[in-house]
Symmetry: C2
Subunit: 312 residues, 2 copies
């Protein structure tokens, strides 16, 4: 292992197009689990969407090995021509984002993640799967946004295949029907955060979503939708760069927008995980402690120390 | 090492009566640093108080070894009859609290810390130093409060030595002039948190302190003083059990009490460290996420996983 101080860790969050067959899902996940140096944190399968999300963490080298093994397993186990589900998909291994894990855990940044995504993309290309780099790894500006890359799913990408602007970064230019293509990218940690309103009126949620999301002139790096969930109006948000818009800032904007419409945020919800930095940001905001950092958290200081101890 | 799942970690925060002589301080700290299995997180020396605070972490067995080595070094290096400083002290190794580190880092609880304090106390008693157990380790209710044990410092304790209610738990009943006695205890993590007001009037800070502290009918496990610091009125707080009164709850009470007096909290300050649980509590409060736990924090989930991995 390199000097512990310069250790770089990443999270990989692949989405693959199988959420029903436990045998297939198990074999696909096993391809990652058996790679030394990789820690699997979570596997979430959704039968309706017929789709699974695997979360695993490691340094660049083991992640590269695990990602190629994962892509190979997906190609072997999933036949896209037979796959049906609610979610639009472009490939058997559909999307593979890499997220840098910053201090205190590691020194990885977004550029490191982009480099890793490109290396992984090249290897997956050798397997005969077309690879589109996106996010911070994008080779062309119009491919930065994942939604633009996957527009229309497999069918949409196939139709654009003749267009030089949509040639894959790696792999064959003709789209294989069985595997489809894969989007491999780098992005900051994404937080999925929902606010339930004290109203059933989904229209109110839609208006609030429009007011807070970046697309319509709202907060930077905020995506938002108004939904009806379990009989309640919900503002569903993706915060795609917490350094630009933090969770408390987004929540505050939703609260104010709701108040102006005579509604109130009744409950909030975190989907999945958030990084320690996001928790600290909320505490900084709430306690008025702008300087609060990981060095003030006992556990983080201890982990940092253990990581830096030469005998470990 | 025992099963990683049942690993119990503690923080020791000894205060010793030397804050000026770098040679002595270095040799005392070295007695802890050279103990295998112990991680030193911090050493803070204060020349005015002529006092140092060392923070180190480990499992019970290494902490026991390190604590006895520390007590021996303090006895050797510090002569209490020659020691002068602002801070009232009762011994060369003055106070030695053990704090359990809870999930996700370990499974230690306050009872475990009390047991460790008692074992450490017995060993230090064998060195010829009178030991008073306090906090959760106290053998008699009237010794639970550290302030009661150390009242009057060395001189006060010596005067009470004849009183059966003030016999030491371990060690000689006659107080040695050179080493004095030591208070060894167990307590939950203590957070030192200060709020600066937008006024110079220290009287306002004193009134607010009286209103929020437990002693005068305020919040449980909150100690508070009104001070003047750098020309500003400050409410200085110790939160001695965050499970009873959290940081945001204490801050909210100070804010309300200040408002009623036409003042405002202008700035806040954390002295030292806080546990991950306290940061999470602030985030729960601020984001309206009562369920938020360490399992939702990427780094903590990863550390938990690494800790539980059999190969580590």
């Amino acid at each position: 292992m390199a000097d512990a101080r310069s250790k770089k860790l990443f999270e990989a969050v692949p989405n693959f197009s199988e959420g029903r067959d436990p045998g297939k899902i198990g074999r696909i996940a096993a391809s990652v689990k058996r790679t030394p140096g990789v820690t699997v944190l979570n596997l979430h399968s959704d039968p309706d969407h017929n789709r699974s999300v695997l979360t695993f963490v490691g340094e660049a080298e083991p992640l590269l090995t695990a990602s190629v093994a994962l892509a190979r397993a997906c190609v072997e186990e999933i036949d896209l021509t037979a796959q049906r589900g609610v979610h639009p998909r472009m490939g058997s291994l559909d999307v593979l984002p890499f997220v840098p894990l910053g201090p205190p855990l590691s020194e990885a940044n977004l550029q490191d993640a982009a480099r890793l995504a490109s290396e992984v993309g090249e290897e997956i290309g050798f397997l005969g799967v077309p690879v589109y780099l996106y996010g911070a790894a994008a080779s062309i500006p119009h491919r930065e946004n994942l939604a633009d890359v996957r527009r229309g799913g497999y069918e949409g990408l196939s139709a654009r295949a003749e267009d030089p602007a949509w040639r894959p970064d790696y792999g064959p230019e003709v789209m294989p029907a069985r595997s489809g293509a894969v989007a491999v990218g780098a992005r900051p940690f994404l937080v999925a955060f929902n606010a339930y309103l004290d109203t059933e009126d989904v229209q109110t949620a839609r208006e609030i979503a429009r007011e807070v999301r970046e697309r319509d002139g709202g907060l930077p790096q905020v995506k938002a939708l108004g939904l009806e969930v379990g009989g309640r109006a919900q503002v569903s948000m993706n915060l795609t760069d917490l350094g630009r818009t933090s969770i408390p800032a987004a929540l505050e904007a939703v609260r104010r927008a709701a108040e102006r419409r005579g509604a109130r945020v009744e409950e909030t919800e975190l989907v999945g995980l958030m990084p320690l930095g996001a928790v600290l940001e909320a505490a900084r905001y709430c306690l008025g402690l702008p300087e609060l950092g990981t060095e003030h958290v006992v556990e983080a200081a201890l982990w940092q120390n253990l990581r830096e101890a030469p005998e470990l």
